[in-house]
Subunit: 344 residues, 2 copies
């Protein structure tokens, strides 16, 4: 071990390095986008011709994803999911972030809701308290009568969000000495959503609550993010000059985080988005192929044993039995199938 | 949904797309390497001055990693781990893969083993049966007398590997109509390792068994990989020309995979490598910072309550109590701490 004491390294050096790693991650996302964009476009064209492609991908999704879907959700996907699209919609915006991402679900006409497209946008923003991360806005789903799989949770999330917006506008951004959190707790829509969450534990399991997700931290507006980013840039410039930089607001952040979890109808919303963006989307063909192979395995077992229980997976619902058409086995792929149904 | 039947899409189209995604991944790894290489170099210089930096990073590692380490392992890291290095050693080799990676652990003189460096190399290779993935060679650790945390498992893995090599050389690569697997099962070193695994369930939990890891599929030589890659390139060329390509060997692959798990002393070896390469290494500063903050939290709890139980984590051993020096709290980082000890 080098004969140097801890004091020879300032923690500012580490903070400076962290900034450079953060920039490197953004640069990597941009390079990756350039490499993959034409491929994703080509893939969309090919898979558009395969009925139930995306429903089969979701069926074969990683185990963590399964925890966020119910048999009813799977039925909706099997009946009506046309395609999924993921777009880094701020990649070319100098004021935006390559981490911001839009996830669009396209549906055929169906018995559950009126919407043909449900688009969930995630903005990467910075809060004035020092936090940075992903925030979203609740998407109102036009559920058909008696068909709301979330039992009003997505409606309630949209209503709370609208009420917050109105409150903010009325107070013209001033905090009146109150924290964001305590102001929101006074809204009737806040109490309503807390009640709904408590009384609808079953509905809270539906994948569609994800469309109501806001944030693990609390919503951050574009304006707040712009202001915080300006301050952060000043800090970074100081740090790059070797000046010491203080971070004042670290403790407030903890309180906010504690508070917001209660009104969040989909506390795992960020994780669900990450699975879609980082696993299902880039590996869709592998998941689809694995679904085909699992299907073939089931069929050959049927032939061998002449039994009727092709449904020997541990999934609650096997979407493969729900979708209308399926293709023939694909043997040409050289890559390994995704982990979940890997042949071992 | 477009009015097109499944037969309009050949599965060759999907296989072709998969190849292009595979190439895109390699290209991304190369770009990422260019972006990060100078940063990693700079970081190594900074953290070399912080005693126990890497031991603290390992202590704060993701939960999955904890499953692969014992309290004795943590003690070795606390006593003697100097640094960790990750290198994509084939990145500039046209016959190599950017997925190949070397992980080096540097140690001070210590009471456990003679080695100053333990280097574990993972080659990304292609087998003639169609499989492709990561293989490694067992690293023999020069344990001091009575100090082998693996109770002979790493020695046994090295012995089996050497015996296999000798067997292959003697048979000059010919299979004599036997599968790789059945040839190996006849080696006395094979029976020895199976016995050792069965009788040393405790030792098999040590992190150091990872140095004996070979593969989840079975070792693949550089020669086999070169031959398989040549065949694969021919297939790819055909497919790019729109010709149909058959994959003959898919079934044999399953048997091999089933077989090899039995003599593998670290069945999760690939997962452990992935955690180090994809999480601990890129996020080391965040893990270190989180360790410092967790430490500070413990101290302030102590001050508040005047109690003696600072060790209220659920880890079996808290390495922070084992390492000699620790730094002051680092508040300047703008990024979130890694998930495990995130303040909520």
């Amino acid at each position: 071990m080098p004969d140097v004491s801890v004091s020879d390294v300032t923690y500012e050096d580490l903070a400076q390095l962290e900034q450079e790693f953060d920039d490197a991650e953004l640069q990597t996302l941009r390079e990756q986008h350039k490499i993959y964009a034409p491929l994703y476009k080509k893939r969309q064209e090919v898979v558009a011709k395969i009925p139930s492609f995306w429903a089969l991908v979701l069926e074969q999704a990683p185990t963590e994803f399964e925890n966020y879907t119910t048999p009813s959700d799977s039925q909706v996907f099997a009946d009506a999911l046309k395609s999924i699209e993921v777009e880094r919609f701020e990649i070319d915006d100098p004021n935006g972030s390559p981490r911001s991402v839009a996830i669009r679900f396209h549906f055929d006409s169906n018995e559950y809701f009126e919407d043909k497209v449900l688009e969930k946008k995630f903005w990467h923003r910075r809060a004035l308290d020092g936090w940075s991360g992903i925030v979203s806005e609740p998407v109102k789903i036009s559920w058909k009568k008696g068909k709301d799989l979330t039992q009003g949770l997505t409606d309630a999330a949209a209503a709370l969000f609208a009420a917050r917006k109105k409150q903010d506008a009325a107070q013209n951004g001033s905090s009146n000495g109150q924290s964001k959190a305590s102001k929101i707790a006074k809204l009737p829509e806040y109490k309503a959503i807390i009640d709904k969450i408590e009384n609808n534990t079953e509905a809270a399991l539906s994948f569609f609550t994800w469309f109501g997700f806001v944030s693990s931290h609390g919503y951050v507006t574009a304006e707040e993010s712009a202001e915080a980013s300006k301050k952060e840039a000043e800090k970074r410039a100081k740090r790059a000059n070797g000046e010491k930089v203080e971070d004042e607001d670290v403790d407030e952040k903890d309180d906010e985080e504690d508070f917001f979890d209660e009104s969040e109808i989909c506390p795992s919303g960020e994780e669900v988005a990450e699975i879609i963006v980082n696993e299902l989307w880039p590996q869709a063909i592998k998941y689809f192929t694995a679904a085909q192979e699992a299907d073939d395995d089931d069929l050959s077992e049927l032939e061998d044993a002449d039994l009727d229980d092709e449904d020997d997976d541990d999934e609650p619902v096997d979407i493969r039995s729900l979708v209308p058409g399926k293709g023939k086995k694909e043997n040409g792929s050289s890559a390994s199938p995704p982990p979940k149904k890997r042949r071992t």
